[in-house]
Symmetry: C2
Subunit: 316 residues, 2 copies
Amino acid sequence: MSAGPSLDDIRVAARRIAPFIHRTPVLTCGALDAMAGARLHFKCENLQKTGSFKIRGATNAVLQLSPAEAARGVVTQSSGNHAAAVARAASARGIAAHIVMPKNAPAVKCRAVEGYGGVITFCEPTVDARDAGMKRLLEETGGVLVHPYNDRRVIAGQGTAALELMEDVPDLDVLLVPVSGGGLLSGNAIAATSLRHSVRVIGCEPANADDAFRSLKSGHIEKNATADTIADGLRAQLCDLTFSILRERVDEIIRVTEQEIVDAMRLVWERMKLVIEPSAAVALAPAVARGIRADGKRVGVLLSGGNVELSALPFH
Amino acid sequence: MSAGPSLDDIRVAARRIAPFIHRTPVLTCGALDAMAGARLHFKCENLQKTGSFKIRGATNAVLQLSPAEAARGVVTQSSGNHAAAVARAASARGIAAHIVMPKNAPAVKCRAVEGYGGVITFCEPTVDARDAGMKRLLEETGGVLVHPYNDRRVIAGQGTAALELMEDVPDLDVLLVPVSGGGLLSGNAIAATSLRHSVRVIGCEPANADDAFRSLKSGHIEKNATADTIADGLRAQLCDLTFSILRERVDEIIRVTEQEIVDAMRLVWERMKLVIEPSAAVALAPAVARGIRADGKRVGVLLSGGNVELSALPFH
């Protein structure tokens, strides 16, 4: 019996959050297919409300709060996309959102949180400082925690992306998903492998923040020594819940270099005319820069978000 | 009796080119609606094959060449998007394409032409030099001209964009379209006003290359004194054919400043996560920067293309 949500939980989540999210398009690109030697199906969560998939899990959690819980408001910590999602989900329910963000979070993500009425407390950009800041906020405000990934409701919400993708492309062979804390990968691995047992689920991770790769290899949760990656959404690390789901459901973690991330990002911008953030490019990088043994196969690529600071792009 | 193609011509074109183009999505954005005070429906030709609407008209023309004509190959001149479209349409038919491009055309557009097998001849960036270069190429190669806009087949092809848009949004009140040589605006004005008599068609033009505005005002074809605009796709000027169609079908030309173009472009990148080129932003600029008397109305915005040099963006 798995600790994570079931396919049914994910289906219920999909119905619950449907009025609050976009059904995002699945796009294809002949030029990138030719480079990858596979048929790529891009699930465009960069076109999702708040500019990332995070609104799925945050909405699924916030809508399940009891009236008494909701009245206390919500608290979380995030480098940006989960923060904006929680702020928006809270705002839709008319409740307060208090959020700890690392002080190096992109300005565009901070503005989004404030735009949805979220209240930001900045902290040092380390896992320990973020956790400590969140603990303090929980005590001070009395709010309810909506953790970015250590939460079955959040994981079920994120899994609705693969549910939609596999309605559009039922015969998927491979699914590429970025991994950080593991909420997105967990939920989508559950949805995808439940719907089609043979689908190979691959987590994609920056080599500079490769805790998931090392954790699945060692069989213990490993910490990131550093998180020095352009993929600002992928600097967190696995928790017990996501680690146990990944061990069950994920076939492989592939690590990519910083240059491979930038190259993949540029390809999507130039060839698909889509603005994606570096964290989203991490899912494409293995398909275009590395062999993923997917010749001619149908490969899903989860483009997780598109929130990026236009005045500080990595293109030269 | 109009000189331009009829709605039937446009419908036939739509069927003829369907196997060679994307049916592009029509996207919406709550944040931009709030800024414009209207419901905006974006026809995303930046997501079209070759990255712009130009493949519609070029394909419609190339497919109508007789076998004898086709054997001679095609010739055209373009700042980039029509060039890539003709190269691709010719390549799909297995014939040669010779193209005159101004030497200041974006490198990304030149690479696209070469990627489709087109042969480029560079010229000075003036209308006269472009026309002279094209005349010389026609003589040297014996090829058939596929003019970027002075061609009923091309105009009919471009008009298929509005045909699709109004299948998706039949009750459109206003349609905003960029204008340069006037092929896109002509074709889409014919389609839109034929399908719905009350729709108000507005051409959008850089103030720095405002020949269409001045021509419709004076009643004669006026030349651009300069074409010093970031909208590199909007530096051409009307011909007899497009001028006569615009006089019949277009309600108004709105001119926008260079800053308004960059601001509108940034909004689409940041809020919609779409890569559009400056020429496409010209169609949105009046809705967000100016009063277009469209309060609460359904406004179509033709995002004409997304080919832009990522290493030279106007965002700071």
